[in-house]
C-alpha cells in the first residue's frame, strides 16, 4: 500500500479510537451495585491495538476535542476547565497510559503475559497522575484522595484488564490487516 494511503488509514483508525473512547464515557455496564464505565478499558485498548505512537495520538485527539469544549468527557461535559478540575489528572493519565501500554505491548508481539504487564503499567500511570491531582485540587490528604479516587475502582480495573486480553486477541487481526501496529504472535 502506498504511504499516503497508509497514513490516511492510520489517521482514521486513531480518530475512531478517540471517538470510541469518548463513547466509552457514556456506555456503562451494570455489574453489581456500581456500573462499570468502559472508558479506561478503551484507553488500554487504544494502546494494545494501535501501538504506542498512534495510541498516544488517538488519546491526544480525544483530550484535544475535550479541551476545545466538545462534550466528550464523562457526564457529557467538555472544556479546558475539566483539565484543571478534580478529575483532570486522570485525563493526562489516560494519555500516558495509552503510550505506556502501546510501547510495552509492541515489544510483546501479542504475548498474553506482556499485554497484562503493559496494562498493569498503564493502570499505574493513570493513578500516578490522577490521585496526586485530586489531592492538590480538592485539598484532601493523599490517603483520603486515594480512598475516594482509586480504591473503589481497583476491582473494576482488574476485570477490565482480564477482559482486554481476549478482546485484543479478537480485534488485532482486523487492524493488522490494514496497518502493522502490534502483530499477533504465531
Amino acid at each position: 500500500m502506498e504511504s499516503s494511503a497508509l497514513q490516511l488509514k492510520r489517521m482514521i483508525y486513531a480518530s475512531l479510537m478517540a471517538a470510541l473512547t469518548a463513547a466509552g464515557a457514556y456506555i456503562a455496564i451494570p455489574i453489581g451495585p456500581v456500573p462499570i464505565v468502559l472508558q479506561n478499558l478503551f484507553v488500554m485498548l487504544a494502546g494494545l491495538l494501535l501501538g504506542g505512537r498512534w495510541g498516544l495520538i488517538s488519546i491526544g485527539v480525544y483530550l484535544l476535542a475535550g479541551a476545545v469544549g466538545l462534550p466528550v468527557f464523562a457526564g457529557g461535559t467538555g472544556g479546558i476547565g475539566k483539565f484543571v478540575g478534580p478529575t483532570g489528572g486522570y485525563l493526562f493519565g489516560f494519555g500516558a497510559a495509552a503510550y505506556v501500554v502501546g510501547i510495552i505491548a509492541e515489544k510483546g508481539r501479542g504475548r498474553v503475559v506482556v499485554d497484562v504487564l503493559a496494562m498493569l503499567a498503564g493502570t499505574v500511570a493513570i493513578y500516578a497522575f490522577g490521585v496526586p491531582w485530586l489531592k492538590v485540587v480538592t485539598g484532601m490528604s493523599l490517603s483520603k484522595a486515594a480512598a475516594v479516587g482509586m480504591l473503589p475502582f481497583l476491582i473494576g480495573d482488574a476485570l477490565k484488564i482480564a477482559a482486554a486480553i481476549p478482546i485484543a486477541r479478537s480485534l488485532r487481526p482486523i487492524i493488522d490487516g490494514a496497518t502493522d501496529p502490534v502483530r499477533v504472535a504465531g
Binding site: 494511503a5 490516511l8 475512531l16 495520538i57 469544549g69 462534550p71 475516594v148
Partner: protein, 246 residues
C-alpha cells in the same frame, strides 16, 4: 444519544455568541486558572458575570443543572470528604470552618464547569475547529490541520457510535445475553462487536476520503478579532485582578 443532543450549540446573537471563538478559549483558560486560587470577591464577581452572560445567551438554570447532574454528584462527594474530619478516633467532626472551606472548593469547581458549558452552548463546531488550527499552528511537532481533521472525525462519529452501541445492546437483550452473570463475558460481548463494526466502517471511510482527493488543506471559516473581543479580554483581566486583592 439524548445526552449528546441536549448538550450543544444554540444559535443566537448574544455577547457570548458574537465573541471570537479564540477569545472565548483564552478567557476560559485565564479565568479557569485564576478560579482555583480565587477569593470570595473574585468568585462572586465571576458568578454574577457568568450568570448575566448565560441569561443573555438564553441558557436557563434548569438546563444548567440537568447538564451538570453527574458532576454535581461528584461535587457532593468532594464536599462531604472535605467538610467531615475524623479527630483521632472514628467520631466524625463537622465544624463551621471546614464547611465554609469545602463550600469554597465546590464553588470554584462548579464555576469552571459552567464556563465550559457556556462555551459549547454559544460556539459552532466548525468555529471551534478553526480556532484549534489557529492555536496549534505555532506548536512544534503537531500537524495542526491533521489534528483538527481528526477532532472533526471524532465529532461526526461519536453520535454514530453511540447509536450503534444502543442498537447492539438491544439486539443482545433480545437474545438474553444481558442476563449472563459473568462480568468478563459481558464486557467482551459489549466491546468486540462494537469495535468490529466501527473498524470495518473505517476501511470504507478511508476509501471514500481517498476517492474525494482528501488532503490536509481545506478552507476554514474566517475568524476575526473585533473591538468586543478586546473589551471582554480587558474586563476578564480586571475581574482576575480582584483575586489578588488582599
Amino acid at each position: 444519544m439524548g445526552e449528546l443532543t441536549s448538550f450543544g450549540f444554540t444559535p443566537g446573537r448574544s455577547v457570548l455568541h458574537r465573541l471570537d471563538p479564540r477569545t472565548k478559549q483564552m478567557l476560559l483558560i485565564l479565568l479557569g486558572g485564576v478560579c482555583l486560587k480565587g477569593n470570595i470577591v473574585f468568585l462572586g464577581l465571576l458568578s454574577l458575570t457568568l450568570g448575566l452572560l448565560g441569561r443573555g445567551a438564553g441558557l436557563s438554570i434548569s438546563r444548567l443543572i440537568a447538564e451538570t447532574r453527574y458532576f454535581l454528584y461528584l461535587l457532593v462527594v468532594v464536599f462531604i470528604a472535605r467538610a467531615v474530619r475524623f479527630s483521632g478516633s472514628w467520631i466524625p467532626v463537622v465544624s463551621m470552618g471546614s464547611i465554609g472551606e469545602a463550600g469554597m472548593v465546590c464553588w470554584r469547581l462548579f464555576l469552571v464547569v459552567v464556563m465550559g458549558i457556556l462555551l459549547v452552548a454559544t460556539t459552532r463546531v466548525a468555529h471551534i475547529r478553526a480556532a484549534l488550527v489557529w492555536f496549534l499552528t505555532p506548536v512544534p511537532g503537531v500537524n495542526s490541520r491533521m489534528a483538527a481533521t481528526m477532532v472533526g472525525l471524532v465529532v461526526r462519529f461519536l453520535p454514530l457510535i453511540l447509536f450503534q452501541a444502543a442498537e447492539m445492546a438491544e439486539a443482545q437483550r433480545a437474545r438474553c445475553i444481558d442476563r449472563r452473570k459473568n462480568p468478563l463475558a459481558r464486557l467482551m460481548h459489549a466491546t468486540i462487536p462494537l469495535f468490529r463494526r466501527v473498524f470495518l466502517g473505517a476501511d470504507e471511510l478511508a476509501a471514500a476520503m481517498q476517492a474525494r482527493c482528501y488532503s490536509d488543506y481545506r478552507t476554514l471559516p474566517d475568524l476575526t478579532f473585533s473591538r468586543l473581543d478586546t473589551i471582554s479580554l480587558g474586563a476578564a483581566l480586571m475581574i482576575s485582578a480582584t483575586a489578588f486583592l488582599p
